[in-house]
């Protein structure tokens, strides 16, 4: 076995030292009636070569970047990853290290964590960041729990209808059974009318949850929504797209109290949706309610600057049933990747990416909407993704035809929004070239013609 050391000879020596006759004897604690007594029904072992061939076969059954051009978004994005991110993050000293509970031998990870927190604070315009959470969706749920505990209001939250539908499903799972009222404010025009939010926020409301740019790609009026929330002593939780912040105002500058994000697009691949990176930052006064690990600066016995995990008295391993959350991990490796990515991009790289996304997506939107069959569903401004309406109301065929032609053209919206069953969400990142965009538009045009001829 490739990863086991003990030879039969060594096993005998060790058993002699233990004073046991056999390995079997070591399991005597387990009553016979509680033992399996047969081999597990699993496939036989594969050597590395066979396993490599097997995985290659499975990979070939998927259609990856070599097969299709990706215009899919909705929370998972095909952004560019500089080679240095993989090269550094795949070093075993990062990859195979443990949670930094022994700071003297974990300063690399701790400093990287501290730098991550620093970068996230700068990115969001907020005072403190934790060392990350599971993903963007569960981070929203944690932000809501944090709001409820901070404001001592557990009965009601207000959520915009333009928040990612899967994020809203997660909120339903977390809070529905606990009796929390989740008021969803509809966004028929693609963004919310702040007056409609003002009408439902009251002094029972723990927080208002907004995503901006929202699921449809459009910025919401975050400042106005923050003012509405604050007027009733509620908090504003904003989910943001980290790669929009090269060009768009930061959550902290718009009045958000807690900012959360899906951070995978900062240097991590799409990997079929996970593992991802839950970003969370907040105002300083809420730090002791913040879930997850936090790294802090201090000095060692010789007065040297160093880093440790801190404020751990909030956490489950100390407070047990009184902890502010049950989270006992972070996404260390992905937080590291995000830090390296941001360090490489710098302000101007981030700005370039933002501008390319904005310009390329607008070019694509204009070209698609110039086709007879399609129009933009909403007139609201957008950042890198937009909603296309198929005037012939046959989104399934449009997407299937485009896929056959080599394009994942967009995400059908009917699954989550019955009123948008004739619409799909198109995303254009900085990676998409004009040739690819023109190819998509041409394919959609052919779809138009083909359907017309069939008619």
């Amino acid at each position: 076995m490739a990863y086991l050391f003990n030879t039969p000879q060594e096993q005998q020596e060790m058993l002699a030292s233990i004073g046991a006759a056999s390995i079997e004897e070591l399991f005597e604690q387990i009553p016979a009636s509680l033992r399996l007594g047969r081999p597990l029904d699993l496939p036989p072992a594969m050597g590395e070569l066979e396993l490599t061939q097997h995985l290659a076969t499975l990979a070939a059954k998927n259609q990856g970047p070599g097969d299709k051009v990706c215009f899919l978004g909705g929370g998972s994005y095909d952004h560019f990853i500089p080679a240095a991110v993989d090269a550094i993050a795949s070093r075993g000293e990062f990859y195979t290290s443990y949670t930094p509970y022994q700071p003297e031998v974990s300063q690399g990870n701790l400093q990287a964590m501290f730098e991550y927190q620093t970068l996230i604070c700068e990115l969001t315009g907020l005072d403190v960041s934790n060392a990350s959470l599971y993903d963007g969706g569960s981070a929203i749920a944690e932000a809501v729990i944090m709001s409820m505990n901070t404001m001592r209001r557990h009965d009601k939250i207000v959520v915009l209808g333009s928040v990612h539908p899967e994020y809203r499903q997660i909120l339903d799972t977390y809070f529905g059974p606990l009796g929390t009222q989740i008021v969803v404010v509809p966004t028929p025009g693609g963004t919310v009318d702040p007056a409609e939010v003002a009408a439902v926020v009251d002094d029972q409301t723990a927080c208002v949850v907004v995503q901006s740019p929202n699921f449809f790609g459009s910025p919401e009026q975050v400042q106005a929504l923050a003012d509405i929330a604050h007027a009733k002593d509620a908090l504003l939780v904003q989910s943001f797209d980290p790669l929009s912040l090269g060009v768009i105002k930061r959550p902290g500058d718009l009045g958000a109290d807690i900012a959360v994000a899906e951070g995978h697009s900062l240097g991590s691949p799409m990997q079929y949706g996970g593992p991802y990176l839950g970003i969370m930052a907040c105002r300083e006064k809420f730090v002791r309610r913040m879930p997850g690990r936090i790294c802090g600066e201090t000095v060692d016995r010789r007065g040297k600057r160093c880093w440790v995990l801190t404020l751990q008295t909030r956490e489950q391993h100390i407070r047990r049933e009184k902890a502010t959350s049950n989270i006992c991990t972070n996404q260390g490796l992905f937080a590291l990747r995000a830090s390296i990515y941001l360090a490489l991009m710098g302000p101007h790289g981030l700005q370039d990416v933002g501008e390319l996304c904005a310009r390329k997506s607008h070019y694509a939107a204009t070209q698609i909407a110039s086709q007879e069959r399609f129009e933009l569903a909403f007139s609201a401004p957008f950042f890198k993704e937009f909603v296309v309406r198929d005037l012939q109301n046959d989104v399934a065929t449009v997407l299937a035809d485009a896929s056959e032609a080599g394009f994942f053209a967009g995400v059908a919206l009917g699954t989550w929004f019955p009123e948008l069953a004739d619409c799909f969400l198109v995303t254009v990142t900085e990676k998409r070239t004009r040739v690819e965009i023109d190819g998509l538009v041409k394919t959609l045009a052919l779809t138009t013609n083909r359907t017309t001829i069939h008619a």
Binding site: N62, E93, C306, F334
Partner: protein, 484 residues
């Protein structure tokens, strides 16, 4: 010979005008941004991130990495955390373009390979657990605990027993158990243990029609198999409750004993422990849960199903608690677990546990001569030694020993857990260490117990930093480069 400049912060290394990444020129019309987005949305300038050239970023992080201990460089006898070798093949295979570059909303016919992998993993994990239904969605062990407890709550609602609001767990349990119970809307109640085993009288006195779930870690946090397991399961089930098994210690029982066969109704795996996913300095892990048939309808949505030769995601699950995470879960971690299970096969997995238990008992047989092991002459894959006597005699604590081990190039064991053992040192060798390594660890551990107390109080002496002032870190928090 250390590069001390590398420990400067990025903000301290930054020079205005430096660039590491230059994006390609825009190949579509360069419309001014204020014609695309309204002025009140646009930032006046991008966030003030550090400005660095690529070589400096690479050198900075590469040097930082050398300040860490890791499984690739050091031995980690870390109890309950199962820091075993992370096979390199798994990293390469999980990074194949046809695995790693997939978008979660691709059409299902373009995802047949990954869906097949996930479906087969579901089969493997249910076989290993002896529980028939599974959700791969939870993002971490504690997330799995919470998800299972939410599913249990839904189950009790469905049978009209929503009065069951109590979750019991032993005083030796992981802190996540009571915390997850509280997060799921239950009240956590502690059950006493005696010599590491559940106090049956205390358990019985707390069982009634208000109890929903008894959460137990088996093998326990003392590294002992709970021999009363059948009795516990009978008592809890007779009271109408469910058994949740914290699967943190599955490394000891692969192919030997299955949670489903010993009375558990629900459990989670920690794939990063049991199936060797790298710890990543604190994540990501994953927290798949397996449950009994009667809980199956309530598991999160979606799950992978097979119809004929086709695999698809099933969202049509009317009694499901819903979604607990975006998309499908921590797929990258699950791919590594799949590769690990296939690398070993049924006999190999059993050999993993046999060698983990052999190594642990071998260490126990050596360590007990100079550090008492209060519970058990034998153990499963880990054991808990106590430095209480040493503390009494010489004033040397478990933490002192832990810190001194760092000087000798060993990571420290888990200390001060479980809370039921004074000056606890929880040692887990894992199966991927050699007898020579274990022998040298024992030799050093013994030598440390003979060293002068003063030397130990000041340890570590050779690490990049000495003991940090943790009180200052918490009293005057500085959580970013420019402290508020």
């Amino acid at each position: 010979m250390r590069n001390t400049r590398s420990t400067h912060l990025l903000t301290e290394l930054s020079q205005p005008g430096r660039r590491a990444v230059v994006m390609p020129p825009c190949d579509v019309p360069e419309t001014p941004l204020n014609e695309l987005l309204p002025a009140d949305v646009l930032a006046e300038s991008p966030p003030a991130l550090p400005e660095l050239a690529e070589p400096e970023v690479v050198r900075h992080y590469t040097n930082l990495s050398t300040l860490n201990m890791s499984v690739d460089t050091h031995y980690y006898p870390l109890g309950s955390c199962t820091m075993k070798y992370n096979p390199k093949r798994n990293e390469r295979l999980a990074s194949l373009p046809g695995i790693v570059d997939l978008h979660p909303y691709q059409p299902e016919d373009s995802l047949q390979g990954i869906l097949q992998l996930l479906y087969e993993l579901q089969q493997f994990l249910t076989e290993i657990s002896g529980l028939p239904a599974i959700s791969l969605q939870p993002a971490a062990g504690a997330h799995g605990e919470w998800t299972a407890l939410m599913s249990a709550a839904a189950y009790f609602r469905s049978i009209g027993q929503e009065q069951r609001k109590l979750v019991l767990s032993p005083d030796s349990s992981h802190g996540t158990n009571p915390a997850s119970a509280q997060m799921a809307g239950f009240t956590a109640v502690t059950v006493r243990t005696v010599d590491g085993a559940v106090d049956m009288d205390d358990l019985r006195s707390k069982l009634n029609d208000q109890v929903a779930v008894f959460m137990i870690t088996n093998p326990s946090t003392l590294g002992l198999f709970e021999t009363q397991m059948a009795e516990i399961a009978d008592a809890v089930h007779a009271a109408g409750g469910l058994i949740y098994l914290d699967g943190a210690n599955m490394n000891a029982v692969l192919g030997i004993s299955r949670p489903g066969d010993i009375g558990a109704d629900m459990m989670h795996y920690n794939p990063h422990k049991t199936f060797s996913g790298p710890h990543g300095g604190g994540g990501p892990g994953a927290g798949p849960i397996c449950v009994a048939e009667k809980i199956a309808p309530f598991l999160p949505s979606p799950m992978v199903v097979k119809e004929g030769d086709q695999y698809r995601l099933d969202y049509d699950r009317p009694e499901s608690i819903g979604r607990v995470r975006t998309f499908f879960g921590n797929v990258g971690v699950l791919v590594r677990a799949y590769c690990y299970i296939l690398s070993y096969g049924p006999d190999g997995l059993k050999a993993v546990s046999e060698n983990a238990v052999l190594n642990a008992n071998y260490l126990l047989s050596k360590v007990k001569h100079f550090l008492p092991v209060p519970h058990g002459l034998r153990c499963m894959h880990e054991f808990v030694a106590s430095a209480a006597k040493l503390k009494q005699e010489k004033g040397v604590t478990a933490m002192d020993i832990a810190k001194r081990l760092l000087d000798y190039g060993f990571h420290a064991p888990t200390v001060y857990f479980p809370l039921t053992v004074p000056e606890a040192m929880m040692i887990e060798p894992t199966e991927t260490e050699s007898k020579e390594m274990l022998d040298s660890f024992v030799e050093i551990l013994f030598r440390i117990t003979e060293e002068p107390a003063d030397l130990l109080h000041d340890a570590p002496h050779t690490t990049p930093i000495s003991r940090p002032n943790e009180v200052q870190a918490a009293r005057q928090p500085c959580l970013r480069a420019v402290c508020g």
